[in-house]
């Protein structure tokens, strides 16, 4: 097992003065968000969230606006205090840190990227990126060297001395990412970083970001309201609704086995081609009656897209192999159903 970097256990956040009573009522009576607001005047932000993120993983938190995902992620660096529950970061309980240690933790181990960039308009791009280091008290020449390096990572060489407002939205967000990377943190918190960008730029940045994080091996919590984005970027996805995490799983898990109707509705429109792998739709070898001579072969990790490429050239099913051994077949009907999302 790889080391757990972020561990969130039973975190509750209820806004309002009577939060303790409200939590008790939710636990005992199972009342919903509207009743809590009506009875206690409290707003439920996060309800009993528990998850762990191992080192190097991109953990996506997906939910619609108001589902509590931004609130949840702000607990990790304690921009918001939990009402109850614990948050461990690198083995330390974040809520027990004193102010000085908390600031050190934020400055040294956490980088954050915001939906609206949140760059300082009066500072140059370089000084924006260098700001986390400045807080840490790094000297200017070191700071500038590091920030130039970080800007290099996000392809912004030549823009160091510009002001943020001179840059386009996509470039500004790359500055935001460079700023988060500059202090070389273990954990990246991405709060809907690409939501405000137009689709084409968003896609480019998603790919760039994914490659960057894979290379730098940063543990990342990535918030988004876009399931496509979550699937493109995330190793695992948590789906939130009304402050509750309704399902955690790999993109394939979520698409193939949605835990409830809410998730099912979400995944309906998602393309399965790159998600669904051969092993989840194959039939046993014995069930196919007929000759498999000359049938194409594919590994069990091949996705539907690859299977289609194999299948179009022949009338025979595709034989699925594991470690060179035949373990099953995917017939054309199976393949077509798989594209539809595994419906029988």
């Amino acid at each position: 097992m790889t080391e757990t970097v972020v561990k969130v256990s039973n975190v509750w956040k209820v806004f309002g003065e009577r939060s303790a009573e409200a939590i008790k009522a939710i636990m005992d009576e199972g009342i919903g968000k509207p009743q809590v607001l009506e009875r206690y005047g409290c707003v439920v932000g996060v309800q009993d969230a528990t998850f762990e993120v191992p080192r190097g993983e991109i953990f996506c938190i997906m939910g619609l606006s108001g589902s509590g995902k931004s609130t949840l992620v702000r607990h990790i660096n304690r921009l918001i205090e939990p009402t109850s529950g614990t948050i461990e970061l690198l083995g330390r309980d974040v809520s027990k840190l004193n102010q000085k240690d908390l600031r050190a933790m934020r400055a040294n181990h956490i980088g954050m990227v915001f939906q609206h960039m949140a760059l300082m308009p009066h500072r140059s791009v370089r000084d924006n990126v260098a700001y986390p280091l400045e807080i840490r008290g790094v000297n200017k020449s070191k700071r500038w060297a590091v920030s130039d390096h970080a800007l290099q990572l996000v392809d912004l060489v030549g823009y160091e001395d510009r002001l943020p407002k001179e840059l386009s939205g996509g470039m500004q967000q790359r500055v935001g990412i460079a700023r988060a990377l500059a202090s070389d943190p273990e954990v990246l918190l991405m709060d809907e970083p690409f939501s405000a960008l137009d689709p084409l730029i968003r896609m480019q940045l998603q790919d760039q970001f994914k490659a960057l994080v894979a290379e730098l091996k940063k543990t990342t919590l990535f918030i988004t309201h876009d399931l496509d984005e979550a699937i493109r970027i995330g190793h695992r996805i948590a789906i939130m609704k009304d402050g509750i995490i309704v399902q955690i799983g790999t993109p394939e898990d979520i698409v193939m086995n949605p835990s409830d109707d809410y998730v099912r509705e979400f995944v309906q429109g998602i393309s399965k081609l790159k998600l669904v792998k051969a092993h989840s739709i194959l039939e046993p070898l014995e069930s196919y009656e007929g000759s498999l001579d000359g049938a194409p072969r594919a590994d069990e990790g091949a996705d539907l897209d690859q299977l289609i490429n194999h299948a179009v050239g022949t009338d025979l099913p595709v034989v699925i192999t594991s470690d060179g051994r035949d373990i099953g077949v995917v017939t054309k009907p199976r393949l077509l159903r798989g594209i539809q999302g595994g419906k029988e």
């Binding site: 040294n108 915001f114 960039m117 949140a118 300082m120 009066h122 807080i135 918190l189």
Partner: protein, 530 residues
């Protein structure tokens, strides 16, 4: 999606759509309460008319007038038509029992008396053997005048009927307007009631009827009486301040005013003596700032000061302002205002300096703490709205006269803008940028230094600029409490009505103000362009 389509209304041509009168009537009934059927019928007529003129007439509204409006909760209509009807009633009252010719007849009578007196004297003169012609002539003249007065009086009396008639016609016209427009206005009330059930009044409330009747009884008779009667009761002309004071004080001489003023004076004197140490140290502090500035502006050789001012104008605001500055300085120096102008600049500068030093930290605090700002807001409003003359008096009491108290008065007037705009700027710093700084580990001080103050700076600068302008506007006023500088020149010219010196001094103030304003504005504009 499919469900939505099924539940959508079937498509009907606009001309075929039936009006749902039953539903509307129920709602109007609920709104109107008593008389609901009448109103639903009339609102329907209003709804189906497209013309500009009203097509319904409400007899109850016409007859009861304002009371109807109040009963239905239309208070704007109540007050409007109460005033209009009162105008009509005053006319009627004047025509009915007022006597417009009375003053003329009175005068005629007096004139006849005097004529009779002169005739007596003429008689007496004749008895004494003197010439009575002079008196007879006078008596005849006065008699003629009396006849003229009588004629005027008769004319005025006959006018009374015209006034009465006019009053009645006016009243009828107002009643008609109320009758015709009552339902339309009430329909408007109904429309807004549909939007907001809570705050728009509906139905006919007994409480409103009682209130409106009481208001009418209190307002109408007295007003009509005061305007129609020739010499109404004295008590209605002016508030009987002395008599009321006497009730409270048991004394004929003292009034509430003299008592209260005396008490206040004592308290202020006592406070001034008790706090003398504190007030003196404030005065000393202000004086030291002023002295430092005066020394710099007046003590430094004048060519140096002039040169520095011109160069600053040039660097900060460009060559045009520099030329204007040089010309202004030449005017001031040639007319012998140099030293006294520098005193004015020192006064304004000291006031602005203290305003900024105190105002910016206060502004930052108010910007961060909503509660502190709420507490300070009324004080700031008071500082700005209170006319300067009002607080000059306590300032004299506590701080005496001269330049430092003048600066204090200037500060009271000049400080609010810098406080307000600083706190506005601090509050306007975008939350995400602050959050980002905190997320990267910034402490409160770092947040203030790196994010809040830099981002609020444009607003703070605007505040400083406004403070400078406010302080400049106090230059003349503070001369009233012994402040020096150009204001004193103006005040002296005012006292002796010296037109020439007054005008020259006025221009000197104008130039000083314009030079400071141009330089500061120019500097800020350059700052903005960065």
């Amino acid at each position: 999606m499919a469900e939505n389509q099924e539940s959508a209304a079937t498509v009907v041509a606009a001309s075929d759509i039936e009006v749902d009168h039953a539903g509307l009537d129920a709602s109007i009934n609920e709104f109107a309460g008593p008389g609901g059927d009448y109103y639903s019928k009339n609102f329907q007529r209003i709804h189906s008319s497209t013309g500009f003129l009203p097509n319904t007439f409400n007899w109850v509204a016409a007859i009861l007038g304002p009371v109807w409006a109040a009963a239905r909760g239309i208070w704007g209509m109540f007050w409007g038509f109460l005033i209009l009807e009162m105008i009509a009633w005053v006319q009627i009252g004047r025509g009915w029992w007022g006597d417009p010719g009375a003053s003329f007849f009175e005068r005629a009578e007096k004139q006849r008396e005097r004529a009779a007196e002169f005739l007596q004297r003429a008689e007496a003169a004749r008895l004494e053997g003197a010439d009575p012609a002079r008196f007879e002539k006078l008596a005849e003249n006065i008699n003629n005048a009396a006849e003229k007065s009588e004629a005027l009086g008769a004319a005025a009396s006959s006018e009374a009927f015209a006034i009465l008639l006019g009053g009645i016609l006016t009243l009828l016209a107002f009643k008609a307007v109320q009758g015709f427009y009552a339902n339309s206005i009430y329909e408007k009330q109904y429309s807004s009631w549909r939007v907001d059930h809570k705050s728009v009044e509906s139905g006919r409330k007994l409480k409103n009827i009682i209130l409106s009747v009481v208001l009418v009884i209190l307002i109408a008779p007295l007003t009509v009486y005061k305007f129609t009667v020739d010499s109404p009761l004295e008590v209605l002309n002016a508030f009987p301040e002395r008599q009321v004071s006497a009730i409270f004080l048991d004394s004929d001489k003292a009034t509430l005013f003299t008592e209260l003023a005396g008490w206040l004076e004592q308290k202020i004197d006592a406070a001034a003596i008790a706090g003398a140490g504190g007030f003196d140290s404030i005065t000393a502090g202000v004086r030291s700032v002023l002295d430092a500035l005066s020394l710099a502006l007046i003590g430094t050789p004048w060519p140096v000061v002039m040169l520095v001012i011109c160069v600053v104008a040039w660097r900060a605001a460009g060559p045009r302002v520099a030329i204007f500055t040089a010309a202004s300085l030449a005017y001031i120096a040639l007319l012998g205002y140099w030293e006294i102008s520098m005193e004015t600049v020192a006064l304004v500068g000291a006031a602005v300096f203290i305003c900024v030093v105190i105002g910016i930290p206060l502004g930052i605090w108010f910007g961060k703490s909503r509660r502190a700002y709420n507490a300070a807001e009324p004080v700031l409003d008071l500082m700005q709205t209170l006319p300067a003359f009002v607080y000059l008096i306590p300032i004299i009491a506590f701080f005496g006269t001269g330049n430092p108290p003048g600066i204090l008065a200037t500060i009271i007037f000049g400080m609010p803008p810098v406080i307000r705009l600083t706190s506005l700027g601090v509050r306007g710093v975008p939350e995400p940028i602050k959050e980002a700084a905190v997320a990267f580990g910034a402490s409160r001080f770092q947040l203030l230094r790196d994010v809040e103050v830099p981002l609020a700076l444009p607003s703070i600068m605007t505040g400083v600029n406004q403070t400078i302008l406010m302080c400049l506007s106090m230059v003349v006023i503070i001369s009233l409490i012994g402040g020096g500088g150009l204001g004193k020149v103006i005040l002296e010219a005012l006292q002796y009505a010296a037109k020439g010196p007054g005008l020259l001094g006025g221009f000197a103030i104008l130039f000083v103000a314009m030079v400071i304003d141009r330089i500061v504005q120019g500097a800020f504009r350059r700052e903005d362009q960065k």
